[in-house]
């Protein structure tokens, strides 16, 4: 399959947050400041890619040969949870600067549905290993993009006159809706 199309589709057309509804808790939770949003976004790109690649191996060489496809969910989440913890320890030891900038986000990613979601989507679409890697990087970038854009808008909105009931999460969701509407336009590009 054409990798370019795959990347564009993953970032824009089927944006992981705005079109696939994945990873909404961190999307709303960490989009108050652009700096934080960047950190979270990069952490997701990093972890999602590793998780998708490793779960691909687990699926292909452990579950499928043993006809245990139904254990996919539990196997994946176990792998991802251990992976995140391992990566945290590894970064702390080996690359402390990187740990400093991404470390605080890592524990939060264990239960981020974007990571598990990307891994499962890759399996459902029966991607090859390379496709899996490319797709998960692109999806992560899509998450990063949406998160940073939302954070930028919300920073601007800090000073806006918003009715009391709509302040906070509601306005963030409505903004996300408008962004999603904008991304919706990409749907026409490929079909």
């Amino acid at each position: 399959m054409d990798y370019f199309v795959l990347i564009i589709a993953a970032i824009f057309v089927n944006n992981i947050v705005l079109a696939q509804y994945l990873g909404n808790c961190p999307f709303i939770g960490t989009s108050k400041e652009t700096g934080v949003a960047m950190g979270m976004g990069f952490a997701v790109v990093f972890v999602a890619t590793m998780a998708a690649a490793i779960t691909w191996v687990v699926q292909r060489f452990l579950l499928v040969p043993n006809d245990l496809g139904y254990l996919q969910t539990i196997a994946f989440i176990l792998v991802i949870a251990s992976l995140v913890q391992f990566v945290e320890m590894f970064l702390k030891k080996a690359i402390p600067p990187l740990y400093k900038s991404l470390g605080i986000f890592l524990p939060l990613i264990t239960t981020n549905c974007a990571v598990l979601g990307i891994a499962i989507i890759c399996q459902r679409k029966q991607f090859s290993l390379l496709e899996t890697v490319v797709f998960s990087i692109a999806s992560g970038v899509g998450f990063l993009l949406a998160l940073v854009v939302l954070a930028a808008i919300r920073e601007r909105l800090e000073m806006a006159r918003i009715p009391q009931s709509i302040q906070g999460t509601p306005i963030a969701l409505i903004l996300a809706g408008l962004m999603s509407l904008a991304f919706f336009a990409f749907k026409g590009m490929t079909s």
Binding site: M1, D2, Y70, K125, T190
Partner: protein
Amino acid sequence: MKEMIKMVVVLSLICSLSGLTLASVRGVTKPFIEEQVLTYVQGPAIKKVYTGNDNNPVRDRKTFTLKDGAELTVFPFLKGSRLGGVAFESHGRGYGGEIGVMVGFSYDPASDMADVSGIGITTMKETPGVGSRVNDPEFGEQFKNHPFKGMALKSAGGDISAVAGATISSTGTVDAVKTAIATFNEIKGEFSSTWGSQEQP
């Protein structure tokens, strides 16, 4: 160290317990799931490839063993209790991977007359917007009530028009249908003994 061992033991134990539970649940639900998958995944394709039957092809399905040892599930179309046709899945190589095609046949055991009654794409990974258009009605319609003869692309001397710009996908689809015709011819003799003699109310 002791703490670590405890950690490993507890986690492994819980995983094994969960494995036991899940395997049991899986064992109980497996037949139900198979039925449901056939009904809802292949069911729509089966419905598309043949009209005029009054049975439930999924419930009446039978598994045949081919010459090369592979197993094939065949869905019969019955009208009243007369066999009017069958459908089964066949595969061809496309651009992005295998293309699964449900091929329906109209078959009259008495006269041994058979045609392709229609096809439906079940699985494919073709390029969206290009190869994926083999799933479009314009392409699929060409197979409706198509005789076995001439089942090839126009470029190969047949009468099927390929999807523009997606020759490989089109070829893959046609190949799948051709394979299905071969398989059909191989096992059609067993059909009437399986369903034809049924005289049920």
